[in-house]
Symmetry: C2
Subunit: 340 residues, 2 copies
């Protein structure tokens, strides 16, 4: 399937399901970008649950989000329970606009929902010639360092910067195991290594089906815990969003919105040096990295995404069977023609 | 020894060794703070090497640093090869001043030197009612994910926020093993676990003496590598400082300054909500964390520092024998009276 056809299908389903045009556009661009980049677990695979929540009135359509500039370089967004993918775009676009005027822009979003990959948002900053940071808190799934019970979310952290040949894109869960990776192990029936998940007594869990209900551990112990707190404080505490147990799950909580929070930072490189000078310095960094290991072994994070994206644009996308079944079901239910 | 007596000793030695008053003040406050907080490997233990470098003209005294505001929320500092502890303070103070006006402030420092603990600087932000981020690149000591040769520094990342009972302070090396921890193992003669350091063929090194010359691995593999790049791009590439091999070591390179770079961010909480509301939300977070593990097992990062600091202020500081010997040697050489 071509990216254009997949995008048109997503737009058709969203429109027929009552999602407003602005959020439809945000969702289609975000989900298809992730599929093109090979991050399928944040691509159109998510459309059924997103449409289900919107249809049940658990995500606001249209989204009456309020953007308030609170300082020359800062804005607050009350997300009014819209789609996270839409509010994330609104947030990063606003951070970029603020950074154009003030050199740096910081935006906090409250009352939002699961926003997909931070990589998509920091890439918006990179496309604008800026360095971007995107943080989101999430429902409790991860133990604190020293604890056994879930208290913080996988609280992903994403960072991006323009680079010759494709932006540097860092996007990581602060847990030892991302929810999306866990679901991949469940799908493929492969066991987990120890040290990623524990049961309520702190005993290691390696069966991925059991692990889906278990508590994850923070990545690298106290370091991942510290990063999860960095995310929780900036995206949750500061923005006015839910904190810890105050954040709901897309898949489990059908009596409430997510109330998750996001934090976006954009830094306008042009205030520091011209784009060519920055590019030459990124190239220096890349050359040092590539020379530090065996041929081809060290790559700038993001390189795999850009390679997959080029291949997807050239060869088209092949949907996973379960993903295709989910989309066909939606297309049938909402009377949208299947492409081709 | 009281903190006041230790501070006076540091000030006396610095002044007699030709360090200018402004940098003397920055050094004394920084080193004694770290000793009080129990972070001895970033305390007065470092004074001999710092004085040695200044005496050899490898650190500029006085430091003709240039602060340039490049946007309403951003400034660039040419550190002119001053003490990192001094330039770090200048950088965070400037970020705080910018954030007072613009809600957020970002400051990049180039041509600096090893700055000690980021925790000291983010605590300055917390004391000003702000959230702080402090990043520094460092000389190559750590492999990339997939590589065996050193290419990035331990590139520490620090984050702080005001909290009732003592600021949240997160301060971590992005390597699997911090240089300071390594030196502690060498001092105590205890072996390292596997997975922290490798030799030039990628074989694990567990002997701490051998590890001191070996290559460290990034924390949690690709995650630590991504974080080290976040630090390298913001503190090194963007600021105009050395990148990778362009950064020198305090202990090894006696033919040059460090040319390391720092990046400071301050976010003025008062633009988002009043201090009491923020404190109540931090208290909610802390209560959830503490309830998520066995009694006393989960603590807010920073709590150990504040507890040690209270004890040090009450009971005074006992210097480690090697540290005391180093200071006595300096005091004798520069004709400064030993306190007491």
């Amino acid at each position: 399937m071509t990216p254009e056809a997949l995008g048109a299908l997503v737009r058709g389903i969203c429109a027929a399901a009552g999602v407003d045009p602005a959020q439809t556009e945000s969702l289609a661009d975000n989900l298809v970008w992730n599929d093109l980049a090979g991050r399928r677990n944040h691509g159109v695979e998510r459309l059924p649950i997103l449409i289900e929540r919107a249809a049940k009135g658990l995500i606001a359509c249209p989204c009456p989000a309020q953007v308030t500039r609170i300082a020359p370089a800062a804005a607050r967004i009350d997300g009014a329970n819209g789609f996270g993918q839409h509010l994330g775009r609104l947030g990063m676009d606003e951070a970029i606009a603020l950074a154009r005027g003030a050199g740096v822009g910081a935006v906090g979003v409250r009352d939002s929902n699961f926003y997909g990959t931070g990589a998509y948002f920091v890439n918006l900053a990179a496309e604008a010639g800026m360095i971007g940071l995107a943080l989101s808190n999430a429902f409790p799934k991860v133990a604190a360092a020293g604890g056994h019970r879930p208290v913080l979310g996988t609280n992903p952290l994403a960072f991006g910067a323009p680079a010759p040949g494709g932006a540097l894109l860092v996007d990581m869960s602060t847990a030892a195991l991302a929810g999306s990776t866990l679901r991949a192990h469940v799908r493929e029936g492969t066991p987990l290594p120890e040290g990623l998940a524990v049961d309520e007594r702190g005993t290691p869990v390696t069966d991925p089906v059991a692990a889906a209900k278990a508590t994850l551990l923070p990545a690298a112990g106290v370091k991942g815990f510290g990063l999860a707190l960095l995310v929780e404080v900036l995206a949750g505490v500061l923005t006015g969003a839910g904190i810890g147990a105050g954040v709901g799950s897309l898949y489990r909580d059908f009596d409430r919105g997510g109330d998750s929070g996001h934090f976006f930072l954009a830094v306008d490189i042009g205030r520091w040096m011209d784009a060519d000078a920055f590019a030459a310095r990124m190239e220096d960094l890349r050359a040092q990295l590539e020379a530090s290991g065996p041929d081809g072994a060290v790559r700038l994070p993001g390189a795999a995404r850009w390679q997959t994206m080029a291949a997807s644009r050239r060869d088209g996308l092949a949907l996973a069977p379960a993903t295709e079944a989910g989309l066909r079901d939606l297309a049938t239910r909402y009377g949208v023609a299947w492409p081709g």
